[in-house]
Symmetry: C2
Subunit: 131 residues, 2 copies
DNA sequence: ATAAACCCTGTACTTACATACAGAGTCAAG
DNA sequence: CTTGACTCTGTATGTAAGTACAGGGTTTAT
């Protein structure tokens, strides 16, 4: 007999904190098994996979709320999931654009800062203050 | 005599919420003028510029904590500010890379989803579940 | 002169994603 | 059979950047 998959072993297997497991249960994105009258809850092995799924989806930039929706849709409705992925993709593309703008601005500021080294005022501060 | 710059007019001029002004005061990133025994606080016009500075710096991706540091450094230490901007730039570049990875992954998933339309399983779900 | 609009202080609430802790119960190893 | 490690429930705390509100006081417009 192998050890029963109690919350501690589950957390270890899924590489998350015990408190995180409880938190996901509170959110309803993983099931909480019935508690036996005496003893501890035992989790099915799939719960490990489910937490891994959640963590991978987070790395893809999905929020827990979005992940909850993905999980509700479940298998078999591939189109819905694809559409959500497409929305997310559009959002990510916008984020990249915004960050590239920011990058250009910072670059310009840093360059003018170096060029203006002798003046008493800081071009970066100036650029922020002067509207 | 023009109207005294009370918190409401200040907020309007700087295009922020009154509560935001109070919040910034609590954070210590803008000064709170002395309250006269009777009547309301009156703000100097520079406070409008300061809030504008904060808002512009936020748009550049600086957190309020980072902005507080910028403001502490103040003018005259251009090098320090430039170095902070350079750190921020490096961070932004990393963010862009991460998002581009995410974008590629999402794209791949969406394409495989469309290609595999007939199978019963969703490639996106699979890719998340299987490891 | 009175009512609407504004200010003051202090505190509580919001979202997202957890993390921590108290006080009790349970299990497993020596 | 005791002790240390684990689990349970419920609640509180943490961050970031605000927003909201209660119950007062003050000012301004009519």
């Amino acid at each position: 007999m192998s050890k029963p998959l109690t919350i501690g072993f589950l957390a270890k297997a899924a590489e998350v904190n015990v408190e995180t497991v409880r938190y996901y249960q509170r959110l309803g994105i993983i099931d909480e098994p019935e508690k036996p009258l005496e003893g501890y809850r035992v989790y099915p092995a799939e719960t490990v996979d489910r937490i891994r799924f959640i963590k991978r989806a987070q790395q893809l930039g999905f929020s827990l709320k979005e992940i909850a929706e993905l999980l509700e849709i479940g298998d078999g409705h591939c189109d819905d999931i694809r559409i959500k992925a497409e929305h997310k993709l559009a959002h990510v593309e916008q984020q990249i654009k915004d960050l590239q703008n920011l990058k250009n601005t910072l670059n310009t500021l840093i360059k003018s800062c170096i060029a203006d080294k002798d003046t008493s005022h800081c071009p970066i501060v100036d650029s922020l203050v002067i509207k």
